[in-house]
Subunit: 384 residues, 2 copies
């Protein structure tokens, strides 16, 4: 099995791109990544995307984006795993290169969510839930997360206000990321006063939608000659699934697949959680940040909020998270999110994270969560 | 790179499955494939599907189907390449096993198309075309193929009636396939009298939609011990893309990606076209059967219809095609089609094709075409 290195990254800002189509967003991120890698093309493209068929009436993104980005003829596919689509695209690209079927690949994600009305986009997002047993009965995606958070508060005796640190940290970090969706520092007071969306989730618990694209150029590590630059390898690429409906789980407060995927990733990379210098987690809602930290071994069950309250998640904390804003403030262009996460770790390992730079960052983990914890992709990157 | 063998196959019939949901169709095909392979589970699932989000309000098919088929926890993803989704799922599964990331996988396809109204399904199918430059201007998928066929007739001076042999052969072969959508033998007279759909494509030029699922169990060849049974390996797994919009091509009558994918496949397998004992091609429309035969080296450009007229495509011909009915009569449950094609080659190589059995079949090729020739997957199977 060949080791896989990341040699190029590219991204658009996450915002309402009224003037830029789905294909143009993708092409912009790819052009930037190829330029960063010093290449003109790759053997194959893996496109993470969830909702293009519903929201843009466009499937067959593989062929479309290969052509639109100047790589007519290259192998190209769309990969879908709900909000985990970006991570899944990376996983596929890693396997393609590790197998020897490809000598170079682009793993990318793209999503266009703000051109449609909010009810349309909300309905499209609900296709990540169980159509027959969840969404068709009227529960939205934020509603599902609210049920989980409500139960968590009840079961472990936390107050809603104990979750504020996650959003405050994310918004603070996004100030240093020019590509972030939100650039407004928030206070604990702001968090407490924020309007309710689906009790107990308020506006500042939830990540914003957005249009965006991010891309990575992957090659076999052994194809790189030493040129003095740090070489960044994908030390682990893992996945696991759980039931798609939250009510089907034995324990709705435990992300079993996130746990399984993380344990497998630690094994592949040969590290322990405490070896990580940063963790780009999937804070689509603050409750998901907490559950992800617990599943990945950073807190005992029911104790995740403590990491926020004790300042362990900030840039100088024990496990820095959402270092460039996370889903909460960089934004959550669904199928692209998993690629943004890995891209941001590359920035940290390259010391290109500007005022967000984590000191001496050498190993980072990204965990991308599809659905309410149903499809999990975990990647660990390190410098070699 | 590890060689990959197919050790299990499963399928549902292709029809209007009013009593069976998308997830149940998938689970039935998987159960049958696992049973055939003598296994209870696999490491990962690759689900080819194009339209579940639009037509069934259900994305995240990976997690859903893994759970529903008793493999909670397994890696699982949806792969989309328009009508080439099934072939793309197989390609991903091959790379996953070849790389060593997985020691077993299911490659499957599933599509549910007949529960929605015909305008809804037609609109969903049109997402395989270029949304901005083709489908949003009103051209349907059959319309696009009609433009291509019209030009072909003009350019190479064939009459529409010269295409009848392709449909007659497919319908005839489907008589021996209990899982086929259509079981009605047709005559040249029927073909001539068939009603026009989009000039010059008539009803008997076009493949029928349908609900269906097909699954394959894949393992590394070196994990199999000799048990006397023939071992079937995937000798080639290739892909290539072309522009998604037909008008963007230099030559609208040449499937450049099909040609590239086939040439690469012949190279991987170390064979020539004449070594093939059968060819499951993508006869979504009779014009596509002709263009596919030309692109893969079985006829000179513009001479494809001759193979039909001279009886070369039948079970005893030079290159038997659509041996179990093809898209035309087995049916075309879009995202599943590419898996049905490969499954049917396995049946032939195992001598399990009943009255459709091709004598001494040892090498077969399947070519799955996404869009109007924009995303092509080619697989060559052989007995070792």
């Amino acid at each position: 099995m060949r080791e896989v290195a990341i040699i190029g990254i590219g991204q658009t800002s996450v915002e309402e791109h009224w003037e830029t189509s789905l294909r143009d967003l993708a092409a912009q991120a790819i052009a930037q990544a190829l330029n960063d890698a010093g290449r003109e093309k790759v053997d194959g493209l893996f496109i993470g995307n969830m909702m293009s068929g519903i929201l843009s009436h466009q499937e067959s993104l593989g062929a479309l984006i290969a052509d639109w980005s100047g790589m007519l003829g290259a192998e190209a596919f769309k990969v879908e795993a709900a909000c985990g689509s970006g991570g899944a695209a990376i996983h596929m690209a890693v396997m393609a290169i590790a197998s020897g079927y490809m000598d170079s690949a682009i793993a990318m994600g793209v999503e266009k969510m703000t051109e449609t009305t909010m009810p349309e986009t909300t309905a499209a997002l609900a296709t990540a839930a169980d159509a027959d047993f969840e969404s068709d009965h009227g529960v939205s995606f934020v509603g599902l997360n609210a049920l989980v958070m409500q139960r968590y508060l009840y079961e472990y005796k936390w107050k809603h206000t104990d979750f504020g640190a996650f959003s405050i940290n994310a918004h603070g970090n996004a100030m240093g990321n020019p590509n972030a969706r939100l650039h407004d520092r928030i206070s604990d007071q702001d968090y407490r006063k924020s309007r309710m969306i689906a009790d107990p989730i308020n506006l500042l618990d939830a990540s914003p939608t957005g249009d965006g694209a991010a891309a990575l150029v992957l090659v076999p590590l052994d194809s790189l000659r030493g040129n003095g630059k740090p070489r960044i390898v994908i030390a682990a690429s893992t996945a696991a699934t759980d039931s798609i409906a939250v009510h089907d789980r034995q324990d709705g407060l435990w992300l079993a697949a996130a746990n399984a995927s993380a344990i497998k990733a630690y094994g592949q990379a040969g590290i322990q959680p405490e070896d990580l210098d940063l963790f780009e987690l999937h804070d689509a809602f603050s409750i998901m940040a907490v559950l992800s930290l617990e599943a990945c071994g950073f807190a005992e069950r029911g104790q995740g909020p403590r990491l926020g309250l004790e300042g362990e998640i900030g840039p100088h904390g024990r496990i820095p998270i959402a270092t460039r804003g996370g889903l909460k403030a960089r934004g959550h262009p669904v199928g692209a999110t998993g690629v943004y996460q890995v891209l941001e770790i590359v920035q940290q390992l390259r010391c290109e994270a500007g005022e967000n730079q984590i000191e001496d960052a050498r190993i980072g983990m990204a965990q991308n969560i599809g659905g309410s914890g149903s499809n999990i992709l975990t990647h660990i990157l390190k410098i070699v």
